[in-house]
């Protein structure tokens, strides 16, 4: 009885159930199990406990990768949110050519990370790029050698990523702004509240759900960053812009160090959980609280 009821629906959802279990859950378990082994070229069950994790945390390269993902995560998320919100507010001012500007701000989002990386690699090229242009215009002091600068290369990645992703945040924020009841604006206008104060104290709190959604979607994408850096800096100069994702891929496919790669990927996964869990909790808690009120 239990199996035959709604049978068609169960059959239809079978692929989703199988994939959820084998790929999404199965792969995490698989990765975790083999992260406890000393696997090298092929997965082998040679239990070593948490040795791989120990090695990982002692690795200088992993340190750099974590530091980079931190810088990238903060600069990229904050940059995207601020610029995206600002662009959405600008677009919301009943300006002329609104759809043209919206198209301009969003088109980078249609481009792949590889293309984004390659374009910015060319624009930031220290010999022929923007720096060269500025020198030709007489600004000899101008320096834009970020791609070959160990300290600044990661910020070049951030610029390219913000360029690509800010439009996405703009679209979400704009949807939030357009959802604001027209009467709220009328009321603010009658009370004589200045525009910027209205946005900061009334509108921003009202579109909080959109802000949180943008934040989570962007933050969840941070950990995945791979193609962009590969195209822009290939992780260099040296390994100055390497990230956890690159570290994992390198250990999987070029260094034949599976155990280490599995351990690193599990850490990546856990960091995503750390980002998602508060949000999921907040959503759940906040919603149930709202529902009661």
């Amino acid at each position: 009885m239990f199996f035959t009821k709604n049978l068609a629906s169960k059959i239809a959802l079978l692929p989703m159930i199988i994939i959820s279990l084998t790929v999404f859950v199965g792969c995490i378990i698989y990765s975790f199990v083999y992260s406890l082994t000393g696997s090298k070229l092929i997965p082998a069950f040679s239990y070593v406990g948490f040795k791989q994790y120990e090695r990982l945390f002692k690795s200088r390269k992993w340190d750099v990768a974590v530091e980079n993902i931190f810088i990238y995560g903060v600069v990229f998320t904050v940059g995207c949110l601020i610029i995206g919100f600002l662009l959405a507010v600008l677009i919301d001012q009943k300006i002329r050519g609104e759809s043209l500007f919206r198209t301009i701000f969003l088109y980078p989002y249609a481009m792949s990370f590889v293309v984004t990386g390659l374009v910015w690699k060319w624009v930031l090229n220290p010999t022929f790029g923007l720096e060269h242009s500025m020198h030709l215009w007489g600004f000899e002091w101008f320096q834009l050698d970020w791609l070959v600068n160990r300290e600044l290369a990661i910020y070049a990645v951030c610029i390219a990523a913000v360029w690509q992703g800010a439009g996405f945040v703009m679209v979400l924020m704009l949807a939030g702004l357009r959802g604001i009841d027209e009467d709220i604006w009328k009321s603010l206008s009658i009370e004589g509240v200045p525009k910027w104060k209205s946005y900061l104290f009334v509108i921003l709190p009202m579109i909080r759900p959109m802000v949180v959604t943008s934040l989570v979607l962007i933050a969840a994408g941070v950990v995945k960053v791979y193609d962009l850096i590969l195209a822009l800096t290939s992780g260099g100069p040296g390994y100055a812009t390497t990230t956890p994702a690159m570290y994992v891929m390198e250990n999987f496919f070029s260094r034949a160090n599976l155990g280490q790669a599995f351990a690193a990927s599990i850490i990546m996964f856990l960091s995503v959980v750390c980002i998602l869990a508060p949000w999921a909790f907040y959503e759940f808690y906040y919603r149930s609280k709202e529902a009661k009120a």
Binding site: D183, S189, P194
Partner: protein
């Protein structure tokens, strides 16, 4: 009495569409003016023009002896209550009330004083620390009014403030608004499409259609002596019965195909020409049960009990019409009854111009 709000020759276009056409309206000090009309008649546009939320195309607006045509909404001595109340959801009631004052740099002690006064008057003192989402519809409405109160508004504008509520609450809040007007004595302009609200609240009603004021009068006058077919049809529920026929000046009568009514009791404002086409309108309550030489005989075709009274449907030369009867009258479908039209309470319109005759 002095005029509180004067709208002079106002026109408003939306693109190429004329929404308001050369409109004049004077509202007296302390008056409760209701703008009534079907959706799309321009009543909300007119209100927004008065508030300064829309930029008009021609004409002037004066509020309290001040030409405010080019002034910002905040400088127009107005407060406004919206259909959705437009309370700021992230702030408590107290913050909602004080927000405008704080943002425009009013002294703290003064804000406190004003909030206390407003919350006392509106009896929302106990709600000051709640968020709008924790308030009932009626409480929200009061807070919205409070926001207009703390601004010391001379003129209150209401934009369909009751249409989001259920019938019971609507009646309750209607009463509250009326009491508030009695106590405050401010000028109020109130937009609605609900004729009951208009009738109960207004000192005067402006019935609008297609951007033009059709009739501006007291509720009583509008109900009893509608100036046009549109007003007659729009006001009143159940609505007025209409019969289209010919006027015969020979014996001062109105003639359908087979039936003729003598109109001696009706006071014409303009007497129509002989044989001109007219529309004869009569409200369901102005038809009486009576058996006499002049009464007509009908079969009851439909009965609609409405609680306080009963509506019965008859038809005259295939035109259905309704009669409002006391609830105590007990009739069944198919019963034969005799009725008589109260001609002096009827309304007669010219068929072409649709104006009252």
């Amino acid at each position: 009495m002095e005029n509180s709000v004067e709208v002079k020759k106002l026109s408003f276009n939306y693109g190429k569409v004329e929404i308001l056409k050369n409109l004049d309206l004077n509202i007296k000090d302390g008056e409760f003016m209701v703008l009534l009309g079907p959706s799309g008649c321009g009543k909300t546009t007119l209100l927004n023009c008065i508030a300064g939320l829309l930029d008009l195309d021609e004409g002037q607006i004066w509020i309290e002896k001040d030409n405010v045509t080019w002034k910002q909404p905040k400088d127009r001595h107005i407060g406004m209550v919206f259909q959705s109340y437009a309370l700021y959801p992230s702030m408590t009631v107290e913050k909602n009330l004080s927000f405008g004052l704080r943002m425009t740099g009013v002294e703290k002690s003064k804000i406190k004083e004003k909030i206390n006064k407003a919350s006392e008057l509106l009896q929302i003192g106990g709600l000051l620390h709640r968020k709008p989402s924790q308030l009932s519809g009626g409480q929200r409405q009061r807070v919205a009014i409070g926001r207009a109160l703390v601004r010391d508004a001379k003129v209150f504008l209401f934009d369909e403030p009751l249409s989001n509520l259920d019938a019971k609450l609507r009646a309750e809040l209607r009463y509250e608004i009326k009491k508030l007007h009695r106590d405050l004595g401010n000028t109020m302009i109130y937009v609605t499409h609900d004729q009951i609200e208009a009738m109960t609240l207004a000192d005067r009603i402006a019935v609008m259609k297609n951007g033009v004021i059709q009739q501006l009068d007291s509720p009583k006058k509008i109900y009893n002596k509608p100036s046009s077919l549109f007003v007659a049809d729009f006001i009143g529920s159940p609505s007025m019965n209409f019969f289209s026929g010919t006027f015969l000046s020979e014996n001062n009568s109105f003639s359908l195909n087979k039936t003729t009514f003598i109109l001696n009791e009706y006071q014409f404002e303009n007497k129509p020409n002989d044989m001109s086409e007219i529309i004869f309108g009569i409200r369901p309550e102005d038809i009486r049960l009576k058996k006499s030489s002049e009464s007509l005989e009908f079969n009851i075709e439909l009965i609609e009990p409405m609680g306080a009274d009963t509506l019965i449907w008859l038809s005259l030369e295939n035109i259905p019409f309704s009669v409002r009867l006391d609830v105590s009258s007990e009739y069944k479908l198919g019963d034969v009854i005799n009725i008589e039209f109260d001609i002096k309470r009827a309304s007669i319109f010219d068929k072409k111009s649709e104006l009252r005759l």
